[in-house]
Amino acid sequence: MGPSLTFRAGVHDVLPTVFGYIGVGLAFGIVAHTSHLSLLVVAGLSFIVYAGSAQFIITSMLLLHDPLSAIFISTFLVNSRMILMSTSLAQYFRHESLTRNLLIGSLVTDETFALAMNKQNKTNGKLSFAWQSAANVVAYLVWGIATIVGAVLGGLITNPERFGFDFALTAMFIGLVYLQLISDRHLGLSLQLMVMLFVALVYYFMIGIMSQNFALLVATVAGCLFGMEMKKCR
């Protein structure tokens, strides 16, 4: 990843993360197929809802015939971390027009957010509309296509885990968190390590008493507050 912020550089930078999308996208397609969702519904979920983990939850809730209101609330809870990420990312685009801000915002994901945070470490805190859009659009298309291919292949591949593809997403986050750790000079290594340890501990204790998605939010917010306090003490 270099300092260039062109559309082309965005396409180049997002390609490594695509592996994570393909693995999980195929998995989602296969799950959707076995849950009796049609290709049209899979395409609708991927291209209109476009929300990785929430799509798995929506699929299982549709299968269980849960009420629409419950499905909407679950989707909001699972995706509420996006409010944090978008608020964080939006600061880099304040100079852009409202339309451009909304365009970027409507396609932000965990992965493109993390990628952008890594990128701005290399560009002295700058991001561009062209670069972010390239990353967003490639991610969006790859995700949608992978889920549809997964749904088509659903009947053929019974066990994608055998090839280790399900680990792609975890590996991607490990890579992104490591790159963030070594390149965020603003916060520094020791403070970030302490915050990471704190987040892991909070998450570990919270998942026993609340849902994983809620624990993720609690650990994130607690980690930010802990980091602010530690920074004050330095």
Partner: protein, 110 residues
């Protein structure tokens, strides 16, 4: 190729909920001045959210009890992390991670 009315409403409703969560903060940040404490808070969001997302795959939740480790994911995370330290390349972390997991599955470990 078919879609029931429930499925259609689910897609439209969840799509609306998701796009609002994503795009509205951009509109707010653009039109309002963000206080210094919030910027300070948000500066920790990348590292905390990425750590929490990693933890989600490294721990297994046991409702009512303490979490346990996802042994296979933790084992595969070791070579993936080493690949990251050595190459600083996201692609290498993902490729090594997938290969490590395929090897673990082949020998039915974890």
């Amino acid at each position: 190729m078919s879609m029931s009315l429930t499925e259609l409403w689910t897609i439209l409703g969840c799509g609306l909920v998701t796009i609002l969560s994503r795009a509205l903060p951009f509109a707010f940040v653009k039109s309002l001045t963000i206080p210094a404490w919030l910027i300070n808070f948000l500066s920790f969001v990348p590292i905390t959210i990425m750590t929490a997302l990693c933890c989600q795959s490294l721990f297994i939740a046991n409702p009512g009890h303490l979490a346990t480790l996802n042994v296979a994911n933790c084992l595969a995370a070791i070579p993936a992390t080493i690949a990251g330290v050595l190459t600083k390349s996201l692609l290498m972390v993902v490729v090594v991670g997938i290969m490590a997991m395929a090897v673990l599955r082949y020998f039915s470990i974890g």
